[in-house]
Protein backbone atom coordinates (compact mmCIF):
# COMPACT_ATOMS: atom_id res chain seq x y z
CA UNK A 1 0.00 0.00 0.00
CA UNK A 2 1.59 3.27 -1.06
CA UNK A 3 2.05 6.05 1.46
CA UNK A 4 1.08 8.99 -0.74
CA UNK A 5 -1.72 8.45 -3.21
CA UNK A 6 -2.77 11.23 -5.56
CA UNK A 7 -5.62 10.86 -8.04
CA UNK A 8 -6.64 13.32 -10.74
CA UNK A 9 -5.28 16.42 -9.02
CA UNK A 10 -5.83 19.64 -10.94
CA UNK A 11 -5.24 23.33 -10.22
CA UNK A 12 -5.45 26.45 -12.27
CA UNK A 13 -4.96 30.08 -11.34
CA UNK A 14 -7.51 31.54 -13.67
CA UNK A 15 -5.91 30.37 -16.92
CA UNK A 16 -4.79 27.03 -18.35
CA UNK A 17 -4.29 24.38 -15.64
CA UNK A 18 -0.95 24.56 -13.86
CA UNK A 19 -1.44 21.04 -12.59
CA UNK A 20 -3.45 18.90 -15.00
CA UNK A 21 -5.13 15.73 -13.70
CA UNK A 22 -2.01 14.40 -12.02
CA UNK A 23 -2.00 10.93 -10.47
CA UNK A 24 0.92 9.66 -8.47
CA UNK A 25 1.89 7.05 -5.90
CA UNK A 26 4.85 7.28 -3.53
CA UNK A 27 5.92 4.34 -1.38
CA UNK A 28 6.94 4.37 2.28
CA UNK A 29 10.58 5.22 2.74
CA UNK A 30 11.11 6.22 -0.89
CA UNK A 31 13.28 9.10 -2.03
CA UNK A 32 11.03 10.43 -4.77
CA UNK A 33 11.72 13.37 -7.06
CA UNK A 34 9.44 15.62 -9.09
CA UNK A 35 11.56 16.80 -11.98
CA UNK A 36 10.73 19.35 -14.63
CA UNK A 37 11.57 22.75 -16.11
CA UNK A 38 10.38 25.99 -14.50
CA UNK A 39 6.67 26.46 -14.83
CA UNK A 40 5.82 22.77 -15.24
CA UNK A 41 3.67 22.75 -12.09
CA UNK A 42 5.91 20.77 -9.78
CA UNK A 43 6.03 23.38 -7.02
CA UNK A 44 2.26 23.89 -7.15
CA UNK A 45 1.82 20.14 -6.85
CA UNK A 46 4.12 20.10 -3.83
CA UNK A 47 2.27 22.97 -2.21
CA UNK A 48 -1.02 21.17 -2.68
CA UNK A 49 0.41 18.14 -0.93
CA UNK A 50 1.59 20.36 1.91
CA UNK A 51 -1.79 22.05 2.08
CA UNK A 52 -0.87 25.59 1.00
CA UNK A 53 -2.89 25.45 -2.18
CA UNK A 54 -6.33 23.92 -2.57
CA UNK A 55 -6.80 21.62 -5.55
CA UNK A 56 -9.63 22.42 -7.93
CA UNK A 57 -10.32 18.68 -8.24
CA UNK A 58 -8.81 15.36 -7.31
CA UNK A 59 -7.81 13.64 -4.06
CA UNK A 60 -4.72 13.43 -1.91
CA UNK A 61 -4.48 10.44 0.41
CA UNK A 62 -1.70 9.95 2.94
CA UNK A 63 -1.35 6.71 4.84
CA UNK A 64 -4.95 5.85 4.09
CA UNK A 65 -6.42 9.21 5.14
CA UNK A 66 -7.87 11.71 2.69
CA UNK A 67 -6.12 15.01 3.16
CA UNK A 68 -8.11 17.41 0.97
CA UNK A 69 -9.88 19.17 3.82
CA UNK A 70 -7.03 18.99 6.29
CA UNK A 71 -5.24 22.33 6.89
CA UNK A 72 -1.43 22.40 6.62
CA UNK A 73 -0.77 22.48 10.34
CA UNK A 74 -2.56 19.17 10.85
CA UNK A 75 -0.98 17.20 7.99
CA UNK A 76 1.72 14.60 8.63
CA UNK A 77 4.01 16.47 6.26
CA UNK A 78 6.80 18.95 6.81
CA UNK A 79 8.41 21.14 4.23
CA UNK A 80 11.83 22.56 3.54
CA UNK A 81 11.15 25.81 1.71
CA UNK A 82 13.18 27.08 -1.22
CA UNK A 83 13.88 30.29 0.65
CA UNK A 84 14.46 28.27 3.88
CA UNK A 85 12.00 30.54 5.75
CA UNK A 86 14.16 30.63 8.87
CA UNK A 87 12.44 32.74 11.52
CA UNK A 88 14.62 35.85 11.78
CA UNK A 89 13.58 36.70 15.30
CA UNK A 90 14.59 33.30 16.73
CA UNK A 91 18.00 31.66 17.04
CA UNK A 92 18.91 28.27 15.60
CA UNK A 93 17.83 26.33 18.68
CA UNK A 94 14.43 28.03 18.85
CA UNK A 95 13.94 27.63 15.11
CA UNK A 96 14.47 23.92 15.29
CA UNK A 97 12.38 23.62 18.45
CA UNK A 98 9.56 25.73 16.97
CA UNK A 99 7.34 22.87 15.86
CA UNK A 100 7.79 20.94 19.09
CA UNK A 101 5.90 23.43 21.25
CA UNK A 102 2.75 21.33 21.35
CA UNK A 103 4.63 18.33 22.69
CA UNK A 104 5.33 20.29 25.88
CA UNK A 105 8.56 18.44 26.47
CA UNK A 106 10.44 19.14 29.69
CA UNK A 107 13.52 21.26 29.08
CA UNK A 108 16.19 18.53 29.37
CA UNK A 109 14.31 16.23 26.99
CA UNK A 110 13.88 19.03 24.50
CA UNK A 111 17.52 19.92 24.68
CA UNK A 112 18.57 16.33 24.04
CA UNK A 113 16.30 16.04 21.07
CA UNK A 114 17.52 19.26 19.50
CA UNK A 115 21.13 18.46 20.11
CA UNK A 116 20.71 15.08 18.46
CA UNK A 117 19.20 16.77 15.44
CA UNK A 118 21.98 19.36 15.36
CA UNK A 119 24.44 16.48 15.23
CA UNK A 120 22.53 14.78 12.43
CA UNK A 121 22.72 17.86 10.23
CA UNK A 122 26.17 18.78 11.51
CA UNK A 123 25.37 22.12 13.04
CA UNK A 124 26.70 21.47 16.55
CA UNK A 125 27.72 24.56 18.44
CA UNK A 126 25.64 26.97 16.40
CA UNK A 127 22.41 26.85 18.39
CA UNK A 128 22.64 30.45 19.67
CA UNK A 129 23.20 32.01 16.28
CA UNK A 130 20.49 33.89 14.43
CA UNK A 131 19.81 33.47 10.75
CA UNK A 132 21.81 36.48 9.65
CA UNK A 133 24.87 34.95 11.27
CA UNK A 134 24.68 31.78 9.19
CA UNK A 135 25.89 30.88 5.73
CA UNK A 136 23.53 29.66 3.01
CA UNK A 137 24.47 26.05 3.54
CA UNK A 138 24.00 26.36 7.30
CA UNK A 139 20.58 27.94 6.91
CA UNK A 140 19.61 25.11 4.62
CA UNK A 141 20.53 22.63 7.30
CA UNK A 142 18.56 24.52 9.94
CA UNK A 143 15.50 24.35 7.67
CA UNK A 144 16.06 20.63 7.24
CA UNK A 145 16.60 20.01 10.96
CA UNK A 146 13.52 22.02 11.84
CA UNK A 147 11.38 19.83 9.61
CA UNK A 148 13.01 16.50 10.48
CA UNK A 149 12.85 16.96 14.26
CA UNK A 150 9.07 16.61 14.01
CA UNK A 151 9.52 13.14 12.52
CA UNK A 152 7.02 13.70 9.72
CA UNK A 153 5.76 10.82 7.68
CA UNK A 154 6.55 12.73 4.52
CA UNK A 155 9.25 15.34 4.05
CA UNK A 156 8.69 17.78 1.21
CA UNK A 157 11.68 19.60 -0.24
CA UNK A 158 11.14 22.55 -2.60
CA UNK A 159 14.33 23.00 -4.65
CA UNK A 160 16.32 23.02 -1.41
CA UNK A 161 19.75 23.13 -3.00
CA UNK A 162 19.06 25.69 -5.72
CA UNK A 163 20.76 28.62 -4.03
CA UNK A 164 23.99 26.81 -3.17
CA UNK A 165 27.14 26.83 -5.25
CA UNK A 166 28.09 23.68 -7.13
CA UNK A 167 30.50 22.22 -4.65
CA UNK A 168 28.25 22.78 -1.65
CA UNK A 169 25.29 21.49 -3.59
CA UNK A 170 27.05 18.23 -4.39
CA UNK A 171 28.14 17.81 -0.78
CA UNK A 172 24.61 18.48 0.45
CA UNK A 173 23.17 15.99 -2.02
CA UNK A 174 25.29 13.26 -0.52
CA UNK A 175 24.29 14.31 2.98
CA UNK A 176 20.60 14.43 2.11
CA UNK A 177 20.69 10.92 0.77
CA UNK A 178 22.56 9.70 3.84
CA UNK A 179 20.11 11.38 6.20
CA UNK A 180 17.16 9.94 4.34
CA UNK A 181 18.57 6.45 4.53
CA UNK A 182 19.38 6.85 8.19
CA UNK A 183 16.03 8.35 9.21
CA UNK A 184 13.92 6.22 6.89
CA UNK A 185 11.36 8.96 6.17
CA UNK A 186 9.70 9.30 2.77
CA UNK A 187 11.27 12.24 0.94
CA UNK A 188 9.54 14.08 -1.90
CA UNK A 189 11.96 16.42 -3.66
CA UNK A 190 11.10 19.03 -6.26
CA UNK A 191 13.88 20.12 -8.58
CA UNK A 192 14.67 21.31 -12.10
CA UNK A 193 18.18 19.86 -11.90
CA UNK A 194 18.06 16.46 -13.59
CA UNK A 195 21.45 15.40 -12.29
CA UNK A 196 20.22 16.00 -8.77
CA UNK A 197 17.02 14.07 -9.33
CA UNK A 198 18.77 11.16 -10.95
CA UNK A 199 21.55 10.85 -8.40
CA UNK A 200 19.40 11.10 -5.27
CA UNK A 201 16.14 9.37 -6.02
CA UNK A 202 14.71 5.91 -5.99
CA UNK A 203 12.14 7.03 -8.52
CA UNK A 204 11.58 10.18 -10.51
CA UNK A 205 8.40 11.69 -11.95
CA UNK A 206 9.14 13.93 -14.92
CA UNK A 207 6.60 16.71 -15.34
CA UNK A 208 5.81 18.95 -18.27
CA UNK A 209 3.04 21.52 -18.70
CA UNK A 210 1.25 20.35 -15.58
CA UNK A 211 1.18 16.69 -16.50
CA UNK A 212 3.24 13.73 -15.38
CA UNK A 213 5.14 12.47 -18.42
CA UNK A 214 6.87 9.45 -16.95
CA UNK A 215 7.51 7.89 -13.56
CA UNK A 216 10.41 5.49 -13.31
CA UNK A 217 13.68 4.80 -11.54
CA UNK A 218 16.51 7.02 -12.81
CA UNK A 219 18.14 4.35 -14.93
CA UNK A 220 14.88 3.56 -16.74
CA UNK A 221 14.24 7.23 -17.42
CA UNK A 222 17.66 7.55 -18.92
CA UNK A 223 17.57 4.39 -21.01
CA UNK A 224 13.86 4.11 -21.78
CA UNK A 225 12.30 7.58 -21.91
CA UNK A 226 8.73 7.25 -23.16
CA UNK A 227 8.48 10.51 -25.06
CA UNK A 228 10.49 13.23 -26.69
CA UNK A 229 10.16 15.63 -23.78
CA UNK A 230 11.50 13.23 -21.21
CA UNK A 231 14.27 12.04 -23.50
CA UNK A 232 15.28 15.60 -24.21
CA UNK A 233 15.13 16.77 -20.62
CA UNK A 234 17.29 14.01 -19.21
CA UNK A 235 20.82 14.10 -20.44
CA UNK A 236 21.69 14.75 -24.03
CA UNK A 237 20.17 12.86 -26.92
CA UNK A 238 20.09 12.76 -30.76
CA UNK A 239 16.77 12.55 -32.63
CA UNK A 240 16.14 11.20 -36.15
CA UNK A 241 12.90 11.01 -38.06
CA UNK A 242 11.68 7.57 -39.10
CA UNK A 243 8.60 5.61 -40.07
CA UNK A 244 7.55 2.24 -38.65
CA UNK A 245 7.22 -0.37 -41.40
CA UNK A 246 6.47 -3.49 -39.40
CA UNK A 247 6.07 -4.44 -35.77
CA UNK A 248 6.79 -8.01 -34.69
CA UNK A 249 7.92 -9.60 -31.45
CA UNK A 250 11.24 -10.38 -33.04
CA UNK A 251 11.85 -6.79 -33.92
CA UNK A 252 10.54 -3.54 -35.30
CA UNK A 253 11.46 -2.61 -38.83
CA UNK A 254 11.84 1.11 -39.41
CA UNK A 255 12.71 3.28 -42.34
CA UNK A 256 15.12 5.71 -40.78
CA UNK A 257 15.79 7.99 -43.72
CA UNK A 258 19.44 8.89 -43.75
CA UNK A 259 20.23 6.07 -41.36
CA UNK A 260 18.73 3.55 -43.71
CA UNK A 261 16.50 0.58 -42.96
CA UNK A 262 16.96 -0.71 -39.43
CA UNK A 263 15.46 -3.25 -37.06
CA UNK A 264 15.04 -2.31 -33.39
CA UNK A 265 14.44 -4.74 -30.56
CA UNK A 266 10.70 -4.79 -29.74
CA UNK A 267 11.12 -3.38 -26.19
CA UNK A 268 12.83 -0.31 -27.57
CA UNK A 269 9.62 0.95 -29.12
CA UNK A 270 7.48 3.14 -26.82
CA UNK A 271 3.89 2.09 -26.17
CA UNK A 272 1.05 3.12 -28.38
CA UNK A 273 2.93 3.22 -31.67
CA UNK A 274 1.48 1.35 -34.65
CA UNK A 275 2.71 0.35 -38.04
CA UNK A 276 2.92 3.27 -40.45
CA UNK A 277 3.38 5.85 -37.70
CA UNK A 278 6.04 8.54 -37.91
CA UNK A 279 8.38 8.25 -34.98
CA UNK A 280 11.50 9.81 -33.54
CA UNK A 281 14.53 7.57 -33.23
CA UNK A 282 16.59 8.61 -30.24
CA UNK A 283 20.11 7.61 -29.37
CA UNK A 284 22.43 8.88 -26.60
CA UNK A 285 25.75 10.43 -27.68
CA UNK A 286 27.76 7.77 -25.85
CA UNK A 287 26.07 5.02 -27.88
CA UNK A 288 26.97 6.51 -31.26
CA UNK A 289 30.29 4.99 -32.21
CA UNK A 290 33.11 5.82 -34.55
CA UNK A 291 33.56 2.93 -37.01
CA UNK A 292 35.44 2.08 -40.15
CA UNK A 293 32.21 1.92 -42.10
CA UNK A 294 28.81 3.42 -41.65
CA UNK A 295 27.28 6.85 -42.14
CA UNK A 296 29.89 9.25 -43.47
CA UNK A 297 30.43 12.50 -41.69
CA UNK A 298 32.85 15.30 -40.78
CA UNK A 299 33.91 16.31 -37.29
CA UNK A 300 32.98 19.93 -36.62
CA UNK A 301 33.55 21.09 -33.05
CA UNK A 302 35.28 18.99 -30.45
CA UNK A 303 35.15 19.64 -26.71
CA UNK A 304 37.68 18.14 -24.37
CA UNK A 305 36.02 17.05 -21.13
CA UNK A 306 38.52 14.76 -19.55
CA UNK A 307 37.92 11.07 -19.86
CA UNK A 308 35.13 11.47 -22.40
CA UNK A 309 35.14 13.93 -25.23
CA UNK A 310 32.25 15.56 -27.00
CA UNK A 311 32.15 15.77 -30.79
CA UNK A 312 29.76 17.46 -33.20
CA UNK A 313 29.68 15.42 -36.41
CA UNK A 314 28.05 16.76 -39.58
CA UNK A 315 26.44 14.11 -41.77
CA UNK A 316 24.77 14.37 -45.16
CA UNK A 317 21.03 14.96 -45.23
CA UNK A 318 20.83 16.47 -41.78
CA UNK A 319 21.39 20.05 -40.82
CA UNK A 320 21.96 19.52 -37.11
CA UNK A 321 25.23 17.82 -36.21
CA UNK A 322 25.16 14.49 -34.41
CA UNK A 323 26.42 14.64 -30.82
CA UNK A 324 28.93 11.91 -30.14
CA UNK A 325 30.56 11.17 -26.82
CA UNK A 326 33.66 8.98 -26.99
CA UNK A 327 37.05 8.58 -25.42
CA UNK A 328 38.75 9.59 -28.65
CA UNK A 329 38.05 10.16 -32.33
CA UNK A 330 39.92 8.69 -35.28
CA UNK A 331 42.55 10.91 -36.85
CA UNK A 332 41.41 13.32 -39.52
CA UNK A 333 38.11 15.05 -40.01
CA UNK A 334 36.33 12.48 -42.20
CA UNK A 335 34.81 9.79 -40.05
CA UNK A 336 32.13 7.08 -40.11
CA UNK A 337 29.42 6.75 -37.50
CA UNK A 338 27.76 3.52 -36.36
CA UNK A 339 24.25 3.54 -34.82
CA UNK A 340 23.77 0.20 -33.04
CA UNK A 341 20.05 -0.65 -33.39
CA UNK A 342 19.83 -2.03 -29.85
CA UNK A 343 20.66 1.48 -28.59
CA UNK A 344 17.98 3.19 -30.64
CA UNK A 345 14.71 4.08 -28.93
CA UNK A 346 11.50 4.66 -30.85
CA UNK A 347 9.42 7.55 -29.47
CA UNK A 348 6.15 9.06 -30.63
CA UNK A 349 6.58 11.95 -32.98
CA UNK A 350 4.52 15.03 -32.16
Amino acid sequence: MSFLFIRGLSKSFGGPPVVDAVSLEVEHGEFFALLGPSGCGKTTLLRMIAGFETPDSGTIVMDGETMNQVPPHLRPTNMVFQSYAIFPHLNVFDNIAYGLRKLKLPKPALRTKIEAMLATVRLEGLESRTADQLSGGQRQRVALARALVREPKLLLLDEPLGALDKRLREAMQVELRAIQRKVGITFLLVTHDQEEALSLSDRVAVMGHGKILQVAPPRTLYERPNCREVADFIGEINFFHATVRQIADAGVAVNAGILGLLTLPRPNLADGIREGDHILLAIRPEHVGFADAGIAGEIGAATFLGERNHFQVQIAGRREPVAVSAAAAPAGQAVHLAFPPECLIGLPSE
Binding site: F13, F52, E53, T54, P71, P72
Partner: protein, 286 residues
Protein backbone atom coordinates in the same frame (compact mmCIF):
# COMPACT_ATOMS: atom_id res chain seq x y z
CA UNK B 1 -3.18 32.35 6.19
CA UNK B 2 -1.04 33.02 3.21
CA UNK B 3 -3.17 30.97 0.91
CA UNK B 4 -3.19 32.67 -2.41
CA UNK B 5 -5.76 32.19 -5.06
CA UNK B 6 -8.52 30.69 -2.99
CA UNK B 7 -9.08 33.27 -0.35
CA UNK B 8 -9.56 36.41 -2.36
CA UNK B 9 -12.79 36.77 -0.46
CA UNK B 10 -10.80 37.00 2.76
CA UNK B 11 -8.57 39.57 1.16
CA UNK B 12 -11.46 41.72 0.05
CA UNK B 13 -12.89 41.43 3.52
CA UNK B 14 -9.67 42.76 5.02
CA UNK B 15 -9.52 45.80 2.80
CA UNK B 16 -13.24 46.53 3.05
CA UNK B 17 -13.16 48.51 6.32
CA UNK B 18 -10.54 50.93 5.03
CA UNK B 19 -12.44 51.36 1.80
CA UNK B 20 -15.64 51.79 3.78
CA UNK B 21 -14.17 54.60 5.85
CA UNK B 22 -12.92 56.29 2.70
CA UNK B 23 -16.29 55.94 1.04
CA UNK B 24 -17.94 57.50 4.05
CA UNK B 25 -15.38 60.20 4.64
CA UNK B 26 -14.39 61.02 1.09
CA UNK B 27 -16.69 59.76 -1.62
CA UNK B 28 -19.98 60.65 0.01
CA UNK B 29 -18.87 64.12 1.17
CA UNK B 30 -17.41 64.97 -2.23
CA UNK B 31 -20.64 63.87 -3.85
CA UNK B 32 -22.49 66.16 -1.46
CA UNK B 33 -20.10 68.94 -2.37
CA UNK B 34 -20.95 68.47 -6.01
CA UNK B 35 -24.65 68.50 -5.28
CA UNK B 36 -24.34 71.62 -3.13
CA UNK B 37 -22.48 73.43 -5.86
CA UNK B 38 -25.49 73.05 -8.11
CA UNK B 39 -27.89 74.78 -5.73
CA UNK B 40 -28.46 78.31 -4.47
CA UNK B 41 -28.43 79.47 -0.89
CA UNK B 42 -31.82 80.32 0.53
CA UNK B 43 -31.72 81.52 4.12
CA UNK B 44 -30.16 78.73 6.14
CA UNK B 45 -30.93 76.09 3.53
CA UNK B 46 -30.98 75.61 -0.19
CA UNK B 47 -33.56 76.61 -2.72
CA UNK B 48 -35.30 74.01 -4.80
CA UNK B 49 -33.99 73.04 -8.17
CA UNK B 50 -30.60 72.87 -9.78
CA UNK B 51 -28.53 75.58 -11.33
CA UNK B 52 -25.15 76.34 -12.75
CA UNK B 53 -25.32 79.85 -11.46
CA UNK B 54 -22.55 79.31 -8.94
CA UNK B 55 -20.12 78.20 -11.58
CA UNK B 56 -21.12 81.15 -13.72
CA UNK B 57 -20.38 83.40 -10.76
CA UNK B 58 -17.02 81.78 -10.21
CA UNK B 59 -15.95 82.26 -13.78
CA UNK B 60 -17.72 85.56 -14.19
CA UNK B 61 -16.30 87.68 -11.39
CA UNK B 62 -12.98 89.24 -12.17
CA UNK B 63 -11.91 89.29 -8.53
CA UNK B 64 -12.39 85.54 -8.33
CA UNK B 65 -10.38 84.99 -11.47
CA UNK B 66 -7.61 87.12 -10.04
CA UNK B 67 -7.69 85.06 -6.88
CA UNK B 68 -7.44 81.79 -8.77
CA UNK B 69 -4.59 83.13 -10.83
CA UNK B 70 -2.76 84.39 -7.78
CA UNK B 71 -3.19 81.04 -6.05
CA UNK B 72 -1.78 79.21 -9.06
CA UNK B 73 1.12 81.61 -9.35
CA UNK B 74 1.97 81.46 -5.67
CA UNK B 75 1.74 77.70 -5.73
CA UNK B 76 3.85 77.55 -8.85
CA UNK B 77 6.47 79.80 -7.29
CA UNK B 78 6.54 77.71 -4.12
CA UNK B 79 6.89 74.52 -6.13
CA UNK B 80 9.69 75.87 -8.26
CA UNK B 81 11.57 77.36 -5.35
CA UNK B 82 11.21 74.31 -3.14
CA UNK B 83 12.18 71.78 -5.76
CA UNK B 84 15.12 73.84 -7.03
CA UNK B 85 16.49 74.35 -3.53
CA UNK B 86 15.88 70.79 -2.46
CA UNK B 87 17.52 69.12 -5.44
CA UNK B 88 21.13 69.84 -4.49
CA UNK B 89 20.53 68.57 -0.97
CA UNK B 90 18.93 65.37 -2.25
CA UNK B 91 21.88 65.00 -4.61
CA UNK B 92 24.30 65.48 -1.78
CA UNK B 93 22.67 62.85 0.41
CA UNK B 94 22.35 60.37 -2.45
CA UNK B 95 25.88 60.66 -3.77
CA UNK B 96 28.15 62.18 -1.17
CA UNK B 97 26.79 61.70 2.32
CA UNK B 98 28.32 59.02 4.43
CA UNK B 99 25.61 58.63 7.06
CA UNK B 100 22.58 58.78 4.80
CA UNK B 101 20.09 57.57 7.37
CA UNK B 102 21.06 60.29 9.83
CA UNK B 103 20.79 62.97 7.16
CA UNK B 104 17.40 61.72 5.99
CA UNK B 105 15.96 61.62 9.48
CA UNK B 106 17.39 65.06 10.27
CA UNK B 107 15.88 66.42 7.08
CA UNK B 108 12.44 64.93 7.55
CA UNK B 109 11.91 65.65 11.24
CA UNK B 110 10.82 69.26 10.61
CA UNK B 111 8.09 67.97 8.36
CA UNK B 112 6.54 66.07 11.25
CA UNK B 113 6.26 69.11 13.49
CA UNK B 114 3.08 71.13 13.66
CA UNK B 115 2.47 73.02 10.45
CA UNK B 116 0.49 75.63 12.33
CA UNK B 117 3.42 76.33 14.62
CA UNK B 118 5.82 76.63 11.71
CA UNK B 119 3.62 79.22 10.00
CA UNK B 120 3.26 81.03 13.27
CA UNK B 121 7.02 81.10 13.64
CA UNK B 122 7.32 82.86 10.29
CA UNK B 123 4.68 85.35 11.33
CA UNK B 124 6.86 86.22 14.27
CA UNK B 125 9.94 86.43 12.13
CA UNK B 126 8.52 88.56 9.33
CA UNK B 127 6.28 90.86 11.36
CA UNK B 128 6.45 94.64 11.54
CA UNK B 129 7.84 94.32 15.04
CA UNK B 130 9.09 90.90 14.34
CA UNK B 131 12.48 89.30 14.57
CA UNK B 132 13.97 90.43 11.28
CA UNK B 133 12.90 93.98 11.73
CA UNK B 134 13.82 94.28 15.38
CA UNK B 135 17.11 92.55 14.75
CA UNK B 136 18.07 94.75 11.82
CA UNK B 137 17.05 97.87 13.69
CA UNK B 138 19.04 96.85 16.76
CA UNK B 139 22.02 96.39 14.51
CA UNK B 140 21.30 99.83 13.12
CA UNK B 141 21.13 98.51 9.60
CA UNK B 142 17.74 100.04 9.03
CA UNK B 143 15.94 102.92 10.73
CA UNK B 144 12.40 101.95 10.04
CA UNK B 145 10.89 98.51 9.96
CA UNK B 146 10.59 96.92 6.54
CA UNK B 147 6.96 96.66 5.62
CA UNK B 148 7.26 94.41 2.63
CA UNK B 149 8.02 91.34 4.66
CA UNK B 150 4.57 90.41 5.83
CA UNK B 151 0.97 90.36 4.62
CA UNK B 152 1.68 89.83 0.95
CA UNK B 153 2.39 87.07 -1.53
CA UNK B 154 6.10 87.23 -0.69
CA UNK B 155 5.43 86.14 2.89
CA UNK B 156 3.16 83.37 1.67
CA UNK B 157 5.74 82.04 -0.75
CA UNK B 158 8.56 82.11 1.79
CA UNK B 159 6.49 80.44 4.48
CA UNK B 160 5.17 77.71 2.22
CA UNK B 161 8.55 77.06 0.67
CA UNK B 162 9.91 76.52 4.16
CA UNK B 163 7.00 74.29 5.09
CA UNK B 164 7.53 72.03 2.08
CA UNK B 165 11.30 72.15 2.08
CA UNK B 166 11.67 68.95 4.07
CA UNK B 167 9.09 67.08 2.08
CA UNK B 168 10.50 67.84 -1.35
CA UNK B 169 13.76 66.12 -0.64
CA UNK B 170 12.51 62.59 -0.19
CA UNK B 171 11.01 61.85 -3.65
CA UNK B 172 14.02 63.39 -5.38
CA UNK B 173 16.40 61.48 -3.15
CA UNK B 174 14.68 58.20 -3.88
CA UNK B 175 14.93 58.60 -7.65
CA UNK B 176 18.56 59.69 -7.40
CA UNK B 177 19.38 56.76 -5.19
CA UNK B 178 17.91 54.35 -7.72
CA UNK B 179 20.25 55.44 -10.49
CA UNK B 180 22.62 52.64 -11.32
CA UNK B 181 26.08 53.99 -10.48
CA UNK B 182 27.63 51.91 -13.22
CA UNK B 183 25.80 54.08 -15.75
CA UNK B 184 27.82 57.03 -14.57
CA UNK B 185 31.00 55.00 -14.67
CA UNK B 186 30.21 53.99 -18.23
CA UNK B 187 29.65 57.61 -19.18
CA UNK B 188 32.96 58.61 -17.63
CA UNK B 189 34.62 55.79 -19.49
CA UNK B 190 33.13 57.12 -22.71
CA UNK B 191 34.57 60.57 -22.16
CA UNK B 192 32.01 62.66 -20.27
CA UNK B 193 33.19 65.00 -17.56
CA UNK B 194 31.33 65.55 -14.29
CA UNK B 195 28.98 68.26 -15.53
CA UNK B 196 28.12 66.40 -18.70
CA UNK B 197 27.46 63.21 -16.75
CA UNK B 198 25.09 65.11 -14.53
CA UNK B 199 23.25 66.77 -17.40
CA UNK B 200 23.06 63.74 -19.65
CA UNK B 201 22.45 60.96 -17.17
CA UNK B 202 21.73 61.96 -13.58
CA UNK B 203 19.31 64.78 -14.26
CA UNK B 204 17.13 62.99 -16.83
CA UNK B 205 16.98 59.82 -14.74
CA UNK B 206 15.99 61.75 -11.65
CA UNK B 207 13.16 63.51 -13.44
CA UNK B 208 10.42 61.14 -12.30
CA UNK B 209 11.30 62.00 -8.70
CA UNK B 210 11.42 65.70 -9.45
CA UNK B 211 8.07 65.64 -11.19
CA UNK B 212 6.60 63.58 -8.40
CA UNK B 213 7.82 66.06 -5.81
CA UNK B 214 6.49 68.96 -7.87
CA UNK B 215 3.03 67.48 -8.12
CA UNK B 216 2.99 66.52 -4.44
CA UNK B 217 3.75 70.13 -3.54
CA UNK B 218 1.77 72.02 -6.16
CA UNK B 219 -1.55 70.28 -5.70
CA UNK B 220 -2.13 70.81 -1.96
CA UNK B 221 -0.48 74.23 -1.89
CA UNK B 222 -3.02 75.89 -4.17
CA UNK B 223 -5.70 74.98 -1.63
CA UNK B 224 -3.78 76.02 1.47
CA UNK B 225 -5.65 78.01 4.08
CA UNK B 226 -3.48 78.55 7.13
CA UNK B 227 -0.49 80.30 5.59
CA UNK B 228 -2.36 82.93 3.58
CA UNK B 229 -4.67 83.49 6.55
CA UNK B 230 -1.82 84.10 8.99
CA UNK B 231 0.78 85.82 6.85
CA UNK B 232 -0.90 86.67 3.57
CA UNK B 233 -3.11 89.62 4.44
CA UNK B 234 -5.57 90.82 1.79
CA UNK B 235 -2.90 91.00 -0.85
CA UNK B 236 -1.75 87.44 -0.28
CA UNK B 237 -5.14 85.76 0.05
CA UNK B 238 -5.71 82.53 -1.83
CA UNK B 239 -8.73 80.51 -2.91
CA UNK B 240 -9.08 78.69 0.38
CA UNK B 241 -9.57 81.92 2.26
CA UNK B 242 -12.41 82.91 -0.02
CA UNK B 243 -13.94 79.46 0.25
CA UNK B 244 -13.83 79.59 4.03
CA UNK B 245 -15.71 82.86 4.08
CA UNK B 246 -18.58 81.27 2.17
CA UNK B 247 -18.98 78.50 4.72
CA UNK B 248 -18.58 80.43 7.95
CA UNK B 249 -21.58 82.17 9.39
CA UNK B 250 -24.47 82.81 7.00
CA UNK B 251 -22.33 82.57 3.95
CA UNK B 252 -23.00 81.07 0.58
CA UNK B 253 -22.39 77.35 0.76
CA UNK B 254 -23.19 76.59 -2.87
CA UNK B 255 -20.75 79.25 -4.01
CA UNK B 256 -18.12 77.85 -1.68
CA UNK B 257 -18.73 74.38 -3.06
CA UNK B 258 -18.46 75.60 -6.62
CA UNK B 259 -15.25 77.47 -5.81
CA UNK B 260 -13.81 74.31 -4.23
CA UNK B 261 -14.62 72.10 -7.17
CA UNK B 262 -13.47 74.62 -9.74
CA UNK B 263 -10.25 75.00 -7.83
CA UNK B 264 -9.65 71.27 -7.66
CA UNK B 265 -10.52 70.80 -11.31
CA UNK B 266 -8.16 73.57 -12.34
CA UNK B 267 -5.32 72.17 -10.32
CA UNK B 268 -5.93 68.67 -11.62
CA UNK B 269 -5.91 69.87 -15.20
CA UNK B 270 -2.73 71.86 -14.75
CA UNK B 271 -1.01 69.04 -12.93
CA UNK B 272 -2.07 66.64 -15.64
CA UNK B 273 -0.81 68.94 -18.38
CA UNK B 274 2.44 69.34 -16.52
CA UNK B 275 2.98 65.60 -16.24
CA UNK B 276 2.13 65.10 -19.92
CA UNK B 277 4.48 67.87 -20.94
CA UNK B 278 7.23 66.45 -18.80
CA UNK B 279 6.79 63.01 -20.32
CA UNK B 280 6.75 64.42 -23.83
CA UNK B 281 9.86 66.42 -23.02
CA UNK B 282 11.57 63.31 -21.75
CA UNK B 283 10.70 61.41 -24.92
CA UNK B 284 11.87 64.24 -27.14
CA UNK B 285 15.15 64.41 -25.29
CA UNK B 286 16.02 60.87 -26.34
Amino acid sequence: MAQTGRNSAEGYGLIAPALGVMALGLAAPLALLLITSLKTQSGLGFAQGWTLAQYAAVIGRASYRVLFLRSLLISGAVTLLTVALAYPVAYFVAFHARRKFVWLVALTIPFWTSYLLRVFAWKIILGFNGLINSGLMRLHLIHEPLSFLLYNPFAVVVTLAHAWAAFAILPIYVSLEKIDRSLLEAAADLGDGALRRFLRITLPLSMPGVIGAAILIFVPTTGDYVTPQLVGGPKGAMIANLIEVQFVGAGNWPLGAALSLMGMAMVAVIAGLFVMAARAGAKAAR
